[in-house]
Every structure is written in structure tokens, then in C-alpha cells.
């Protein structure tokens, strides 16, 4: 009885049973979401057709749809969701700020402006080069926003406002570049609103490993992030080396958000919402939040892509726009809370 009472009062230490339950449920939900992503669209596809399309490809139209469209979109949806969910959780842990999100703080905008420069000014079109540009842009923006946040005295509100301003500046630069170059306007128009359609599976060889490294890095620092929640000084006294931790967190966010932006365009607010949902389920331990936020992110993106496919069929709503509808209200909800910035 006492242990139950303690669990209730201290949600940061969920019981082992609860963690196991959450892991199982999350895994099941992820599989179900992937199944929906593969089968539901303007054409309903049976799951055995999907399996046949992979194992015994016969060139039929339906199998072609599965191989050329459904599988890539689902795979990239999972990747982008994992990346942004984890990146948001790491940013919130690092900045101890409930409003941190790669979209709100300008990291995605940094990746976007770099891609816009690559497309409009340098005429680059192949994916590895664009992804390199996105990563460089994300890195500069992440470092910039962390520096701005600490230059502003480390206040959480300051960080958010600095990030919003940074995102605005970078967004303005992207707009300028795109407006000056009509060819780039065409190319950027659908990418800018965040879309999973028309991505070839071959880019997985570049994007997959980067996101994997980012995820491993994110999981590796969760323990230190938990200690950091006690404050910089306490964390340092407890043996956490703040400098390397910051570097690791920045590297992880850069890899995750930069790659996700290169694949799907700037998708905002998912990194905000997923960690909050995860926190509501498993409490305040980063060790549990980071992986769960990643899985929730993946589920939400895959399902969001399905919604975008069917809501105005035969036309499509890009997943980035669906995400803004689903996840931006979280910002409004957080803003209405008693103390908006506390985790």
C-alpha cells in the first residue's frame, strides 16, 4: 500500500511493472500505426498484399503503390517522428524549458534556410548534399539559440523568445531567397510545408544512420539530463560534466532535427507535444521520456500522414501542416497553464 502511495506521489519513479506495460503498449501502438500507414490511403490495401509486395513482388498496380509510395512514406514517417520526438525531449531536458522544440527555437528554420541557399544559390539537388546543408544549418541554429539563451541570463522565457526571433529571421531569409528565385519557389513550395510524399527509399542509406547516431546519443545522455534537472551547480557537484553534456545534447539535436528537416521539411511542434505526452504517461524521468517521446513522435507522424492522405483525397495535406494543426494547440494549452515554462 505504501509503495503504491509513493508511486502516485512521485511519478518520476514509475514502478518496473508500469514501465514494462508502457513499453509493451508503445510497441503495440507503433506496430498498429505502421500497419495503418501501410494499408490506409486513397486506396485501402490488405495487409497480406503488403507482405506479398515485399516478399513476392509481381508488378501489379496495387503492389507498386505499396512499394513505391506506402512503404517509403511509412518508413520516413517513423524516422522523422522518432527524430523529432527525441530531439524535443532532449531540448526540453537541456534547457529545462517546457516550451523547447526544434521548430519553435529555430533549429528547423536554420536547416531550412541552409537548404534554401543550397537550392536557390548553389543549384544543388541531390539529397546527400542537401542533407549536409540542413545539418550545417541546424548546427549553427542550435548553437546560436543555446548561446542566446545563456546570454540572456538563462531564463526560460528569454530562450523561447530568442528562439522565436531567430526562427523569424531565418524564415525571412528563406522567404527572400525563394522569392528571388522562382525555380526554387517551385521546388521549395511543397517541401517547406513538410511532406513525406515523393521521397525515394534510397535516401534511407544517408538519413537512417544519421538519425540512429542521434538517437543513441540522445539515449546516452538521459541520465545526465536527469541530474541536470537539479540545476547546473548541483549537477556539477554530483559529477556531471556540463560542457560535454551540452556538446552531446547539441550534437544529438542537430543530427536528429537536421536530418528530419532534410527528409520532410520543417515540421514544427511535434518536438513540443511528444515529450509532454510522454511526461504525462511516465513522469519526469528523462530516461523514460526520451525513448517514449521518440516512439510517440513516430506514431503521431505516421498517423498524421495517413490523415493528410485521406482528409481531402485525392489531394493531400502535407504532414507538416497536419502536425501544426495537431500539435500547435499544445503551445496554446501550455500558455494557458499556471506556469507556462516549468517542465
Amino acid at each position: 500500500m505504501t509503495s503504491l502511495a509513493r508511486t502516485r506521489r512521485d511519478p518520476s519513479r514509475p514502478s518496473a511493472g508500469r514501465v514494462a506495460l508502457v513499453v509493451v503498449l508503445a510497441a503495440v501502438a507503433l506496430i498498429v500505426a505502421a500497419g495503418i500507414g501501410l494499408t490506409v490511403g486513397t486506396k485501402l490495401v490488405r495487409i497480406d498484399t503488403v507482405i506479398d509486395a515485399i516478399a513476392r513482388f509481381d508488378g501489379s498496380d496495387l503492389q507498386l503503390v505499396v512499394r513505391e509510395s506506402r512503404i517509403p512514406r511509412t518508413v520516413f514517417g517513423l524516422l522523422v517522428g522518432l527524430a523529432l520526438g527525441a530531439a524535443g525531449a532532449v531540448m526540453q531536458g537541456l534547457t529545462r524549458n517546457a516550451l523547447a522544440d526544434p521548430g519553435i527555437l529555430g533549429v528547423n528554420a536554420g536547416a531550412s534556410v541552409a537548404v534554401a541557399i543550397a537550392v536557390a544559390a548553389l543549384g544543388i539537388h541531390d539529397f546527400p548534399a542537401l542533407m549536409a546543408a540542413a545539418l550545417a544549418g541546424a548546427l549553427v541554429a542550435t548553437i546560436g539559440v543555446v548561446l542566446l539563451g545563456s546570454a540572456g541570463g538563462g531564463s526560460p522565457v528569454t530562450l523561447v523568445l530568442a528562439g522565436v526571433a531567430l526562427a523569424a529571421v531565418l524564415g525571412g531569409l528563406t522567404t527572400a531567397l525563394v522569392l528571388l528565385n522562382p525555380h526554387a519557389f517551385l521546388q521549395m513550395r511543397s517541401w517547406e510545408s513538410g511532406a513525406l510524399a515523393g521521397r525515394d527509399l534510397s535516401i534511407l542509406t544517408v538519413a537512417g544512420p544519421t538519425i540512429a547516431v542521434g538517437l543513441v546519443l540522445a539515449l546516452a545522455i538521459t541520465r545526465s539530463l536527469d541530474v541536470l534537472a537539479l540545476g547546473d551547480d548541483t549537477a556539477a557537484a554530483l559529477g556531471v560534466r556540463i560542457g560535454p553534456l551540452r556538446t552531446g545534447a547539441v550534437a544529438s539535436v542537430t543530427l536528429l532535427a537536421g536530418t528530419a528537416t532534410a527528409v520532410a521539411g520543417p515540421v514544427a511542434f511535434l518536438g513540443l507535444a511528444a515529450p509532454h505526452i510522454a511526461r504525462g504517461i511516465v513522469g519526469s524521468s528523462q530516461k523514460a521520456i526520451v525513448p517514449l517521446a521518440a516512439v510517440i513522435g513516430a506514431i503521431v507522424v505516421v498517423l498524421g500522414d495517413v490523415v493528410g492522405r485521406i482528409v481531402i483525397a485525392p489531394q493531400e495535406v502535407p504532414v507538416g501542416i497536419v502536425m501544426a494543426f495537431v500539435a500547435a494547440p499544445f503551445l496554446i494549452w501550455i500558455g494557458r497553464r499556471r506556469n507556462p515554462v516549468q517542465l
Binding site: T158, V164, A328, R336
Partner: protein, 319 residues
Amino acid sequence: MGILVVAVLAAFLASLSIGDRLISPIRVVEALFETQGGVRMVVVDWRLPRALAALFFGAALALSGTVFQTITRNPLGSPDVVGLTTGAYTGALIVMTTGGSSGVAVSIAAILGGFATAALVAALVAGRGALGYRIVIVGIGVSAVLAAVNAWMLLRARLEVAVSASIWGAGSLNGVGWQQALLPIVIVSVLIVLLALSRRGLWLIELGDDIGTSLGGRINLTKAGLVAIAVGLCAVVTAAIGPIAFVALAAPHLAKLIVKNGPLHLVATALTGAVLLSAADIIGQNAIPGHALPVGVVTLVLGGVYLIFLVVRTARQRF
């Protein structure tokens, strides 16, 4: 104050002189009083409406910003940050993408969009305690949802509509002639006069709700009236030339550097806004030879840098 008047005149003359063809300021002044001739046509028919629009619209945005900042008691609570301009753009896009091409219909839709967004943000923060930045955070959220709506409408539009709507959406004075400029300038002037008449109300609000009430002000009524004027100013400008970022935010702060407080602060704010928008437009037209950048992009980039500076400085003073 004198500096500001000189700056406004300089910006005005500069925007009449600089262009594809440079005309000396003296020649410009002469041309203003001529009745015919090529130079007169360039100066009076082509450049004058644009120059006046920049001055009046800049002043309107700045005043709108100062009213919002006073009422929200937050230096960042300006109409562009809390999503009014995005909402006005949404209104305009609804008309543009459903085939409405008349300027009047687009303008009315933009103004309605601005008012609807203001009402939405006000409803969402109502009764949640007067935490200064709550309105900013909620406003950014509302703005983001509306931006998604806008992006979606742009994607569904035909390419020509999308390109012209995007250019309008960046906020541009390109192609503003007498026909486009005259009516909004008149409306904005009326609103500015109304604001000047109700400046006592603004002063009462600045003193705080309690003192204001004890001095005999009906605070809520005053607030509602002022907000209506401020939303009107911002929405009319957005309807005319598209969303212009950060002028409303920055002008009141910059004006404080010159005139601290009192009724003259409003004048200084209006003049600062006028100078900012004119200067930004001159930069946009000439920064990249051969390309005219929309003025909204210039204010977005310069204003964003200023906002970063402001945020960092304010935080440093507080901690």
C-alpha cells in the same frame, strides 16, 4: 524630437529620389510643384503614393504596437507577435484562393481576419491571470495554427495565385500606386486621429487598472475601444500591403530612446514607425540590384535581429 522630424523628411525625400533613375532631391522638390513633364510623372504619379504609403503605414503599425504593448503590459505583446497579421493574411487568402480578386474584398477579408484573431487570442487568455508573457505564448501558438492554414491554402491554390499571394504574404509595397494607397491612407489617418483623441485612456491604462479606475476611467470600455483602434490600424495596413513584421514591435521601443513618456511619446512612436518602414522599403528596393525585395522581408530580418538583441538585453537587466 527634432531628429525624428528631420529623419522622416529625409526618408521621404530619399524614397522619392532613389529608384531605377536617381533624381536629385532638389529636382524632386521642384517636380512636386510642377504640373506636367516626365520627372513629375515619375515623382508624383509613381513614387509619391509609395513613399506616402510607407510613412503612413509605418506610423499606423507603430501606434498599433504601442497600444498593444501598453494594454498587455508586455514589450513583446505587439500585434505581429500575437498573430494578428497572420490572421489577416488568412482572411485575405480565403478570398484570394476562392477566386476573389477585387482589392476591396481581399481588404475586407483581411480586416475581418485580424479582428477574429484578436478575439480568439483574447478569449484564450481571458481569466487566466495577467501573466505578461501568457498572451505572447498563446499568440505564437494561434499564429502557428493560422500559418499552417495559410500554407495549406497556398498549396491548394493554382501556381499564379500562389506566387502572387506569397509575394503579398511577404508584405510588399511594390506596385502601390494612388489607386491602392489612397483609401487605406485615409482610413489610417482617421484611426490615428481617433487614437490621438483617446490618448488619455491610454495614459490611464499605463498607470494601472486600480489607479486608472480611481481617477474616473472606465478601464474596460477604454481598453476595448483602444484595442479596436489598434487592431483596425494593423489590419488596414495588412490588407493594403500584406503582413509587415516587427515595425509594430520595434518602433515604440526605439521611440522611448528619444522621448521617454507622455503624450509626445505617441508622436515619436508614429514618426519612428514612419522612418522604419520607409527606410526598410528603400533598402528592399536597392539592396540587391535588379531585384526588388518585399519590404516585409527586410523588416522581418532586421526586426528579428533587433528582437533578439532586445530579449537578451531585457533579460540581462532583470537577472
